[in-house]
């Protein structure tokens, strides 16, 4: 096919337009405010697993410039709005992640991110469920959704406990389940062990014909979720899976500025140990938290992947006009 042409069908263009319209209708009916925040950001992310695109701002006539980053998600800016008293908000925007490209990844993709003031995770999950059903109504027949515990799923499909299982146990389980290389790959990095085993052995089985909400993630996995009050080893985080694909990540948001800064510092320490760049902490976001973030829950949802499922597409390129290779 000639390179100038879109990689998606006209049907995908139309489906996307219908999807966007139904999202806006959904939130309008619930009085959630649509907002826009900058795509070009002064502060980078500290998350060691995210690689932002970096560019340079040159003011007119200026010889030197200031670094700017393309946002990896609108999370920090939206939290600043929440702290400023916006109330519940949503945004449909592009996010950019370098070093992410594949059948389910395009370096530039569309996110739906929303925050609900006063919602705990359960209420947010109810709303995600309602929204997804509304969007998919004409394309998918979904059974009743499932709410599952990360730890139980991991025990069931991997055969070891993600929190307390020893590295020997994890190695043994992965070896008998067709991943003998896991031990050499993951070493003593528990996050890596969990990422590898969960994505290989658990995720493909999730959300077949129904939405799977996976809750209560181990606290040491990166997130901006608050710890569970009755079990600080897990956080109030939810991941959404449909047809084996990860669609989104939601949190009962951390509002504690001190703990937030500690997490930034921990990220930076990991980055330093990895020999990665050391971006400045987002001081404006921290200042907003210090000022007071209302109790809220928020979620980021990948709309391109949702469209993939609705259209039974094999590749994200099938639902994008011009994926980066053709942009």
């Amino acid at each position: 096919m000639p390179e100038w042409r879109p990689s998606c069908s006209m049907a995908a263009l139309q489906k996307r337009a219908v999807m966007l319209a139904s999202i806006r209708r959904f939130f309008a009916a619930r009085h959630v405010l649509e907002v826009e925040t900058p795509l070009l950001c002064r502060a980078g992310v500290t998350d060691p697993n995210l690689h932002p695109f970096k560019t340079v701002l040159r003011k007119p006539g200026a010889a030197a410039g200031d670094p700017l980053y393309l946002q990896t998600s609108p999370e920090f800016a939206m939290k600043r709005l929440l702290a400023a008293g916006s109330g519940s908000i949503y945004q449909i925007c592009k996010a950019f992640r370098n070093e992410e490209s594949g059948r389910h990844h395009n370096p530039e993709f569309t996110l739906l991110e929303w925050y609900r003031v006063g919602f705990d995770l359960d209420r947010l999950i109810d709303e995600i469920d309602a929204l997804l059903r509304e969007i998919c109504r004409d394309d998918l027949i979904l059974e009743a959704s499932e709410r599952l515990s990360y730890r139980e799923l991991f025990r069931e499909h991997v055969g070891a406990d993600p929190l307390s299982g020893s590295f020997e146990e994890l190695a043994e389980c992965s070896g008998t389940r067709g991943l003998p290389e896991a031990e050499a790959l993951c070493g003593e990095d528990r996050s890596f062990w969990l990422d590898l085993l969960f994505s290989h052995l658990v995720q493909p089985r999730l959300g077949r014909g129904r939405i799977a909400f996976v809750r209560d993630f181990p606290a040491f996995l990166p997130s901006l979720a608050r710890k569970k009050s009755d079990d600080p080893r897990v956080v109030e985080r939810v991941e959404i899976f449909l047809e084996g694909l990860e669609l989104g990540n939601g949190f009962h948001e951390l509002t504690d500025a001190v703990e937030q800064e500690e997490r930034f510092d921990r990220d930076l320490a990991v980055r330093k140990a990895n020999g990665q760049s050391l971006p400045a902490k987002d001081e404006r976001m921290l200042a907003a938290l210090k000022n007071g973030l209302p109790d809220c829950s928020g979620i980021a949802l990948g709309l391109d992947r949702l469209l993939m499922i609705m259209m039974q597409a094999e590749s994200i390129a099938d639902v994008l006009t011009f994926p980066t290779a053709r942009a």
Partner: protein
């Protein structure tokens, strides 16, 4: 020797894995939203033909394998070795039964096939996708029966056995798809 990083892995690339040359079949980038990125790679061991799945950290590298696919003419079998020749250079190579593997039942003298060389030694042989072979033995069918239903076994001059329609007779030349082992048509 050159190395390739996971982001360069693509179908057909030949790399060394655990000391054996392998051909990459598929490379899937996997990244949990908040986690480590890795690549799930499917490879074929070119010596054993076995398909392996292996996960790598994104950015990890593998050494390139000195593997070349060369078109050669199959000459003859001396009872132990199968002999091939590069038509342009007349260079000859011999391969044993393990190397020729399943290809042997499709090899007809003079046919051009692909011989995979690793460090200059044959490690596998791929027959042409379609071969024309003579039926040396099959049950006589009912004349005029053109129904496809089931067919009957026929032994070919290379020793291969394929199912053919009932109307095809001993002595006829047929076209066979070597990838599926299926009868395609009669050859006039």
């Amino acid at each position: 020797m050159a190395t390739f990083s996971t982001n360069e892995f693509k179908g057909g690339l030949k790399v060394m894995l655990d000391g054996d040359p392998c051909s990459i079949i598929e490379n899937e980038f996997v990244k949990p939203g908040k986690g480590q990125a890795f690549n799930r790679v499917k490879l074929r061991n070119l010596k054993t033909g076995r398909v392996i799945e292996r996960t790598f950290k994104s950015g990890e590298t593998l050494e390139a394998a000195d593997v070349v696919d060369t078109e050669m003419q199959y000459l003859y079998n001396d009872g132990e070795q199968w002999h091939f020749m590069v038509p342009e250079s007349f260079e000859q190579y011999a391969a044993d039964s393990n190397v020729v593997g399943d290809a042997k039942k499709w090899l007809k003298e003079q046919d051009i096939c692909i011989v995979t060389l690793y460090n200059g030694t044959p490690i596998s042989v791929t027959p042409p996708n379609f071969v024309e072979l003579t039926i040396v033995e099959t049950d006589p069918g009912v004349r005029g029966d053109t129904s496809g239903g089931g067919g009957k076994p026929a032994t070919l001059d290379t020793g291969a056995v394929v199912r053919v329609p009932l109307f095809v007779q001993t002595g006829e030349v047929i076209k066979v798809d070597t990838r599926t082992g299926e009868y395609v048509s009669r050859v006039k």
